[in-house]
């Protein structure tokens, strides 16, 4: 898609707003529709557009595979870690009540952390899967 001037300009213009919208959906999920799953997908779609415009090699310079692998594991670990933290504070697994000074504050903190973990994992896994597909296409294209 390198020759499509209009798509390149519009796509480049859209990418930061898509990422901003992803962050909004992530951290506003307590108040409006949204949450980690949706935010992760939206955030990853910004990178998908970047790949469509500039090719998978360029995008992987910004988001290398090893970072995505680390982030996807970190998301799961963050979620599970919140549960372990509540265990150590003397409550049941994933009972956020004990995380804050009073139960409702603990619930807020727990939900934000957990949703952030979900967002990290979803965004990085979708990017990893997409890059894997896209890169295979490019390698095959080069070979043939």
């Amino acid at each position: 898609m390198n020759n499509h001037m209009i798509l390149r300009v519009v796509g480049k213009f859209l990418i930061p707003y898509i990422m901003l919208f992803g962050l909004y959906v992530q951290f506003h999920g307590d108040f409006g529709p949204g949450g980690g799953f949706q935010a992760g997908v939206i955030f990853a779609s910004a990178f998908v557009i970047h790949t469509l415009l500039f090719g998978v090699r360029e995008t992987q310079k910004i988001a290398p595979e090893w970072i995505l692998k680390a982030v996807s594991s970190a998301g799961v670990l963050l979620y599970a870690g919140v549960g372990v933290a509540s265990l150590f504070l003397g409550a049941n697994y994933l009972d956020y009540d004990v995380l804050g000074a009073y139960p409702v504050a603990g619930q807020h903190l727990g939900i934000i952390l957990v949703e952030f973990g979900v967002g990290l994992t979803v965004a990085s896994v979708i990017m990893l899967i997409f890059f894997t597909f896209a890169a295979r296409g490019e390698v095959d294209g080069d070979v043939s």
Partner: protein, 187 residues
């Protein structure tokens, strides 16, 4: 109320039309695009049912990412359906299975409680606790987030692990092969 019903009928009719089109169409590329449209119409339908979060997910994942992944796959495999598959051979078994399954499902509908009824089992089990206590227990205005992240935290943890596993699986299956091919190209 009548307007809502009209929109529902309109969207459901669209779903049926798109499904038939997907079955009948021969061009795989068009079928993938129709799948995307199908997801978008489903998302509108979820919005009509006041399930904004589900509609959001359906639009982002179903219409967005799935379509992109299918297109990426098509880029690897080619967009034309093989002619082999087109050969006309009528076999009755699939038709019988589909008709029997459909009849069973329709028979099951008869026993379902009325749609949206106030004393349906779904409405009287844990829902009152969620709707009445969640503001004092969790204090998160979006009830869906409260249920997903706190009341049903274990389920959501499982879902995240499923997504993580999907990523690991894809990398194991086709992530490594690329590197080997590159190595061969270098040699």
């Amino acid at each position: 109320m009548i307007l809502e019903q009209l929109i529902d009928i309109f969207l459901l009719a669209f779903l049926a039309i798109i499904s038939i089109a997907i079955v009948r169409i021969r061009d795989v590329f068009s079928a993938v695009m129709l799948f995307g449209i199908y997801s978008l119409v489903s998302a509108s339908l979820f919005l009509m049912l006041a399930a904004a979060d589900v509609a959001f997910t359906e639009a982002a994942v179903g219409a967005g990412i799935s379509t992109i992944l299918m297109l990426a796959t098509l880029g690897l495999t080619g967009r034309e359906k093989e002619k082999m598959l087109v050969k006309k051979k009528i076999s009755l078994l699939p038709l019988v299975i589909v008709v029997v399954t459909g009849a069973t499902l329709i028979y099951g509908i008869v026993d379902l409680p009325p749609f949206g009824g106030a004393d349906n089992p779904a409405q009287v089990h844990v829902t009152p606790r969620y709707t009445q206590q969640s503001m004092s227990e969790i204090d998160v205005p979006n009830l869906v987030t409260a249920v997903l992240a706190s009341y049903r935290g274990f389920d959501t943890l499982g879902e995240v692990v499923v997504i993580f596993t999907a990523g690991v699986g894809v990398l194991l299956l086709i992530g490594g092969r690329r590197r080997r091919e590159e190595k061969h190209a270098d040699e």
